[in-house]
């Protein structure tokens, strides 16, 4: 197909934002001559990021296969691009008032966030393994730089540095493994295009090398998704990075990972060894994540282990091998992002001094900030999967799509895990509503900006929980097109 720039307007727009931020980071800032006239990045970026959501919605209908068949624009990619643009918008808004980030580092900070989101957009369209790999690296590398940017004292924060190093080391190993696996795939199946790979034979008896290769390649995605056993970075990074950065790391990269896994899931027929492997990893991940989260005292660490568990939930949709399953996984990824953006929004607003929230810091939040407490309650109950929230609907679609496709034990594991998970999500609500505030409670940000943001995110989680039909329709279209 002819290359037509109209097709990739969202990516181009995002690139434009990156360039603007890059030039600002070169010359701008109050400490540079002439820098005073430039509005600081956090002032103008939210508007443009908001416009980016609009742009990606406009290019909703784009369809085509470009760049030598490596880059596909379809319902799935456009669905995720809107989600990524929206998530980027919220993350930018969230980070705009970051207390633990110096003024002069802000253009760079936002530039890296923008690059990461750009990489994820490319990832959602990539249908060829090398392209996937490169897009994955684009989105990862920029995050490596962002995580240590947390300044809470004259020397910076050692935990943030630790988190940065952990993220790099784990990331490097995971991508190396992915690349290694890719070599096996290429050697045995002689192609790197997913469309052709889908026609190949993926049984262990026929192609053991390819199965090993694909498993390893998916390891790279599992790392992004923080699926057991690639999850070790997750709680540490969430804890070490600033609240706002963690909010970004916890949400958008998962979308990228899910979109690739959804595409790869077209290869995974139920009953294949590799599908079973995925199911086992999913079960382990949800159980391990939930059990570990039970013992956490640090809110972000708790959310970290919770995202390990949620990565496991998403596997339930992927292994079913049906269009419904893929759309359920896509829907759940979206729900997951919405719920986590909501929780991290509240965490960032409550810790207005940039500290790491302990559960006890939430004590008596309902008095200090009723709106944020309510939003936190919505987020927590959504993460449990209680109706009427998006979390419930997502979980319900996962269960409904996976039942009777050979992995009923996985479904049972999922529902039992919901019962385990309730304890620690409930402790968020419990601290916010039933405990009285202690001495050193942080002062939550009760500005209209913070309250409105929380309110809108909570409304999104509730409304799509009550009437998920429209959103599911788009997810369904994406799923049907992969597995007709």
């Amino acid at each position: 197909m002819e290359f037509n720039p109209i097709l990739i307007v969202p990516e181009l727009y995002q690139l434009l934002l990156i360039l603007a931020l890059f030039f600002q980071s070169l010359g701008a800032g109050p400490h540079r001559p002439g820098g005073d006239e430039m509005p600081p990045a956090e002032r103008w970026l939210p508007f443009f990021a908001g416009f980016g959501v609009f742009v990606s919605i406009v290019s909703w209908g784009a369809e085509g296969l470009i760049f030598g068949g490596a880059y596909k624009l379809d319902a799935l990619s456009q669905f995720f691009k809107v989600a990524i643009a929206a998530g980027f918008y919220v993350a930018v808004l969230n980070a705009a008032r970051q207390p633990s980030l110096e003024e002069r580092k802000r253009p760079d900070y936002f530039m890296f966030l923008a690059i990461s989101a750009w990489g994820l957009m490319i990832l959602s369209s990539a249908v060829e393994l090398i392209t996937i790999y490169i897009a994955l690296e684009i989105s990862s590398y920029s995050l490596y730089a962002v995580i240590p940017l947390r300044n809470v004292g004259p020397k910076g924060d050692p935990r943030a540095a630790e988190a940065g190093i952990k993220y790099i080391l784990f990331g490097a190993v995971a991508t190396a493994i992915a690349l290694y696996g890719f070599s096996y795939i290429l050697a045995s199946q002689h192609t790197s295009y997913i469309a052709q790979l889908a026609k190949a034979n993926w049984t262990w008896s026929a192609q053991p090398m390819a199965v090993v290769g694909l498993s390893l390649f998916m390891g790279g995605m599992f790392y992004k998704l923080a699926l057991f056993p690639f999850h070790f970075w997750c709680p540490d990074v969430y804890q070490g990075a600033s609240n706002e950065t963690a909010g970004f790391v916890a949400t958008l990269p998962k979308l990228g990972a899910v979109v690739v896994l959804v595409r790869l899931a077209a290869l995974l027929k139920p009953g294949l060894e590799i599908t079973t492997l995925l199911a086992v990893l999913g079960a382990l991940s949800m159980t391990y994540g939930n059990l570990c989260a039970l013992a956490q005292k640090d809110v972000k660490r708790l959310l970290g282990f919770s995202s390990v568990a949620h990565a496991g939930y998403m596997m339930v949709g992927l292994v079913s091998g049906t269009a419904e399953g893929l759309s359920a996984a896509a829907f759940y990824a979206l729900a997951y992002v919405a719920m986590n953006l909501l929780c991290f929004w509240v965490v960032s607003r409550v810790a207005s001094d940039g500290r790491n929230l302990q559960l006890s810091d939430l004590d008596g939040l309902y008095k200090r900030s009723p709106a944020l407490a309510f939003a936190l309650g919505v987020g927590a109950f959504a993460l449990v999967g209680l109706p009427p929230t998006m979390g419930f609907m997502g979980k319900f679609f996962l269960i409904a799509s996976a039942w009777d496709h050979g992995y009923n034990w996985l479904v049972i594991t999922l529902v039992l895990n919901s019962a385990i998970a309730i304890y620690y999500y409930l402790s968020l609500v419990r601290h916010a509503y039933t405990h009285e505030a202690g001495e050193d409670a942080p002062v939550p940000d009760n500005s209209p900006f913070s309250v409105c943001g929380a309110g809108i995110l909570a409304a999104v989680v509730l409304v799509f929980g009550m009437v998920p039909g429209g959103l599911l329709d788009f997810a369904m279209r994406a799923g049907k097109q992969l597995l007709p």
Binding site: V384, L386, P388, D404, I412, V415, A419, R430, T434, M476
Partner: protein, 525 residues
């Protein structure tokens, strides 16, 4: 819609809107009055329900697609069984507002928000005919109840609320799996359609277990009852009232609405187990209640016993048993709800729930004690009160099934009388502590105690209206059940006697005629 508006939907949506409106109100007193007004309006919106026709059809049906991709429907309707439960829910709300008028002094708005939210969810549970819709309401109701206990509860409210939440949620997660399994196997989420579908015994076996666990925890039946006393004792009195009057009914309603029609063979197969557990609940609840020093705990354990009668009645699979179960559900809602309101009222005076601190009220609070006496009598099934009707029907059903079974119930009923007399005698004639200075009931308390009292006597003396409401649905339920359960272990009941039903049925010999003493053995294949 023949009334110009969708009745059931408005009953669900209106409380939610009213709850949202609460946030515009500043003063606690206004919030109370506002909620009172809203609850009266809610009742008035329910007026069209009085046109209920005495047949077994689904009435007030509302149907709209919800998530068409998965065939989810927004499907509400009532039949004789759910009708009474919805009415009970609507009637309880104003009473709850009244009984917490002075009881709740902190965060009044949020409290009433929870009450209204709760009402919406409860109406939804009883009227939903789509399995997923049912589940949504079923779970949504946990959140306000959790908050009611956790925020406005007693000293151990955190422990109690957490236990409540963990127990009920753990039970209902498997319910969700069962619901999905029904859809995959039966092809639809619609309850009326699934009622016509026959499932393999193996499927029914597991589906029944998954559902029964959720419902048994909610009821609660004997080994799963431990959350109930904790939750009741710690909850504020309005919370206890809703918990006792409405929430516990959801479990037994679930058995009636889902287990019997959807998994008839498995129900028959498990009936001996369920009956055994019910009897254990009755005896255990009664025995433990006998030893309580805390009035609220006593009533809480008595609930375990009373709900045992309900589950027993259901799993007898005969007309009298199921009628009795439904009556007992209604009665327990009215009587135990009223008892909890009374405990709340006396707690406001004594600031203690211990029996020892609330003795000798007969002389100083005659009106209070009079009401207490009435409800206590109703609680253990004294003739002329509503409790008698329900208990008697279950007795008849049990004797129809087998003499041994009936005989096992007798100590249960005796225990009921024993623990209620024990606490009532002490409260009426014990050595008064500080009771001398307390004032008797005020007009607000009169109001909210008089309303249940009317129903206690009305149902007790003239239950015909209620038989008319439930009988067509129960007969249809049992007829379907018998044709669909190959086992047919259930004993055929005699046709409904007319008018004076309850009083006539009260004579135990009548039961003998129809009791071929079939043992409750499972016949499975």
């Amino acid at each position: 819609m023949e009334f110009g508006y969708p009745v059931l939907t408005s009953l669900i949506v209106f409380p939610l809107l009213a709850a949202a409106g609460l946030f515009l109100i500043k003063s606690p007193q206004v919030a109370r009055a506002y909620t009172m007004g809203a609850s009266i309006l809610e009742l008035m919106q329910g007026l069209p329900l009085l046109t209920f026709k005495f047949n077994a059809d689904w009435q007030f049906v509302e149907k709209a697609p919800w998530v068409p991709q998965w065939g989810l429907e927004y499907h509400l309707a009532l039949d004789g069984i759910s009708y009474l439960m919805v009415m009970l829910t609507l009637a309880i709300l104003p009473l709850c507002v009244m009984c917490s008028w002075t009881y709740i002094s902190k965060r009044v708005k949020e409290f009433h928000f929870c009450l209204l939210f709760m009402t919406a969810a409860c109406v939804g549970v009883f009227s939903a005919l789509d399995l997923v819709l049912f589940y949504v309401f079923w779970e949504a109701m946990l959140i306000p109840m959790y908050l009611l206990i956790a925020v406005w509860g007693g000293d151990q409210r955190r422990y109690a609320s957490l236990k409540f939440f963990l127990f009920t949620l753990a039970g209902s997660t498997l319910l969700l799996a069962a619901i999905v399994a029904f859809r995959i196997t039966g092809g639809t989420f619609s309850v009326p359609e699934l009622m016509q579908t026959t499932f393999s015994f193996r499927f029914q076996y597991w589906a029944f277990l998954a559902m029964a666990l959720a419902f048994a925890i909610k009821v609660p039946m004997f080994p799963f009852h431990t959350w109930l006393p904790a939750a009741h004792v710690q909850a504020p009195s309005a919370g206890s009232v809703i918990l006792a009057a409405v929430l516990l009914k959801m479990g037994t309603y679930g058995f009636l609405r889902f287990c019997l029609p959807l998994t008839p063979e498995a129900s028959v197969y498990f009936a001996p187990l369920m009956i055994a557990v019910s009897i254990a609940s009755i005896l255990y609840g009664g025995a433990i209640a006998l030893g309580q020093e805390d009035i609220k705990k006593l009533v809480a354990y008595s609930s375990v016993g009373h709900m045992g009668f309900v589950t027993l009645g259901i799993f007898l699979f005969n007309l009298r048993g199921v009628e009795g179960a439904i009556f007992q559900m209604l009665n327990h809602g009215i009587v135990t709800g009223a008892l909890f309101m009374m405990i709340g009222a006396v707690y406001e005076r004594s600031h203690s729930r211990a029996i020892a601190d609330n003795m000798g009220l007969g002389k100083y609070l005659p009106a209070f004690m009079g009401f207490w006496g009435l409800y206590a009598l109703a609680s253990f099934g004294f003739p002329g009160t509503n409790g008698f009707v329900g208990e008697m029907l279950v007795f008849v059903g049990a004797f129809q099934q087998s003499y041994v079974l009936g005989a096992l119930l007798v100590p249960g009923a005796l225990l009921g009388a024993a623990y209620m007399f024990r606490v009532s005698l002490k409260m009426a004639w014990g050595r008064p502590g500080t009771a001398k200075g307390w004032r008797d009931l005020n007009s607000r308390e009169w109001a909210y105690l008089l309303i249940p009292a009317v129903f206690v006597l009305y149902i007790g003396l003239a239950p015909k209206l209620f038989f008319n409401i439930i009988d067509p649905s129960v007969e249809k339920l049992l007829a379907d059940f018998k044709t669909r359960s190959v086992a047919g272990a259930a004993v055929a009941a005699k046709p409904v006697p007319a008018a004076v039903a309850a009083v006539a049925v009260a004579d135990a010999p009548v039961a003998e005629a129809a009791a071929p003493a079939t043992p409750a053995e499972p016949v499975n294949n």
